[in-house]
């Protein structure tokens, strides 16, 4: 810490784990998002965008994407599938399960909300998921994923509830096991060899937002 920092603390040094109280009317902390607006703008290029949501169903998000953007939304709660495998004690079968999980035809989904799912998966499951998502994602489609940078071992998932283009409410709920190890950027990129990183943001709450894009004209 420099002498200058001691004299005039930087504004960015506000504890990022403490959300802005004024922005959390419902008790859940509200965090800003940089990538969501870009994800939305990529969807609006389509006439009838098809969206795949890998998280638990959230009524606000369904209304947001369905009513505002006219998306057709597929809700596939992979967190619930993961919990079911953990409780059944057959996590070794999870990669194979993920490989056949998505019944959507190849190259038909214009946007995928992966949330922070990959943080909760082991390496083999993450790779199986990435391959399956790469298959269904249409060319010029985008995938939004969050990755933590701070090691957290708490056994809980997060529901990401969209407030608007720039803010999301984070609602924690219990998980069957703890979050897995944090992935470095290099390994994240290796998961999606067919996709390009179009945008990447490091937020103050130690979350990386990465927007992947499948290059146009890339059939699978």
């Amino acid at each position: 810490m420099s002498l200058l920092d001691l004299i005039t603390p930087r504004k960015m040094d506000r504890d990022p784990r403490v959300p802005r109280a004024a922005a959390a009317p419902a008790g859940d902390p509200v965090f800003s998002t940089k990538a969501l607006r870009k994800f939305i703008s990529s969807l609006t290029r389509q006439d009838t965008p098809v969206l795949l949501d890998l998280g638990p169903v959230v009524g606000e998000n369904v209304s947001f994407f369905g009513e505002r953007l006219g998306c057709k939304i597929f809700v596939e709660d992979i967190f619930k599938d993961l919990d079911r495998h953990v409780r059944a004690g057959n996590l070794e079968a999870f990669p194979e399960f993920l490989a056949g999980r998505f019944a959507q035809a190849a190259n038909t989904v214009h946007g995928i909300l992966c949330w922070d799912l990959i943080d909760h998966l082991d390496r083999a499951s993450a790779q199986a998921l990435a391959t399956a998502l790469n298959r269904v994602l249409a060319s010029d489609g985008t995938l939004l994923a969050f990755f933590s940078t701070a090691p957290t071992r708490d056994a809980r998932y997060t529901k990401f509830i969209i407030v608007d283009d720039l803010n999301m409410r984070h609602r924690a709920y219990p998980a069957a096991r703890t979050r897995q190890a944090n992935m470095p950027n290099r390994d994240i990129l290796r998961l999606f060899p067919g996709l390009h990183v179009s945008d990447s943001f490091l937020l103050q709450n130690n979350q990386r937002e990465i927007l992947f894009r499948k290059p146009a004209g890339t059939g699978h």
């Binding site: 169903v57 009524g59 209304s63 597929f74 809700v75 596939e76 035809a105």
Partner: protein, 182 residues
């Protein structure tokens, strides 16, 4: 000076309407209550009732029992009660789910999945509300035009009831959703 009288005069010289009498609130008798209930056109299918086949109607319906097949209430509200278990294609003006639905739901106005309500299937409706604590698996299509047209088309054969997904196999419930995506 203040033209107070003009402010209360009706336009174009019409005489002012006489003040309406204060509304009187009459206490309904039990018989009147019963007739009001019947006038509401709401029919209940009780807990112990099991229906297999096609269910058509032209009045609002509440299902607390089990129905397998097809339900059509084109211009009316279908309510699946907390004890209701539906394995059917559903077509209605508005659908409120408090129980379990397995099958596609098409509504010309709104689908409302309440807390502890469950839908496994595809929803086509211009408005969809999903409460916190509700279960939903499938797709949501809120395109106004497709919702309206789909509600007026003849239903296809009812989607077969599916077994709950096993721990390592994807549910066959996803197949129609995939076909829709194509």
């Amino acid at each position: 000076m203040w033209k107070r009288d003009q402010a209360v005069q009706p336009p174009s010289g019409q005489p002012a309407a006489p003040p309406s009498p204060a509304p009187t609130v009459a206490t309904p008798s039990p018989r009147a209550e019963a007739s009001q209930f019947l006038e509401r056109d709401n029919v209940n299918i009780g807990k112990s009732v099991v229906i297999k086949g096609e269910l058509n109607g032209s009045e609002d319906l509440t299902i607390e029992g089990q129905v397998e097949g097809t339900i059509q209430l084109r211009d009316h509200v279908l309510t699946i009660g907390p004890n209701g278990k539906i394995k059917a294609q559903v077509f209605a003006k508005s659908v409120i789910v408090l129980g379990e639905v397995t099958g596609n739901v098409t509504a010309s106005e709104k689908v409302d999945i309440r807390d502890k309500g469950s839908v496994d299937g595809d929803i086509i409706s211009p408005r969809v509300a999903i409460a916190e604590g509700a279960h939903f698996r499938g797709s949501v299509d809120m395109q106004r035009k497709s919702g309206a047209t789909a509600a007026t088309t003849q239903p296809q054969a009812a989607k077969p009831a599916t077994a709950p997904a096993t721990a390592s196999q994807p549910s066959p419930q996803q197949q129609p959703a995939a076909a829709a995506a194509r």
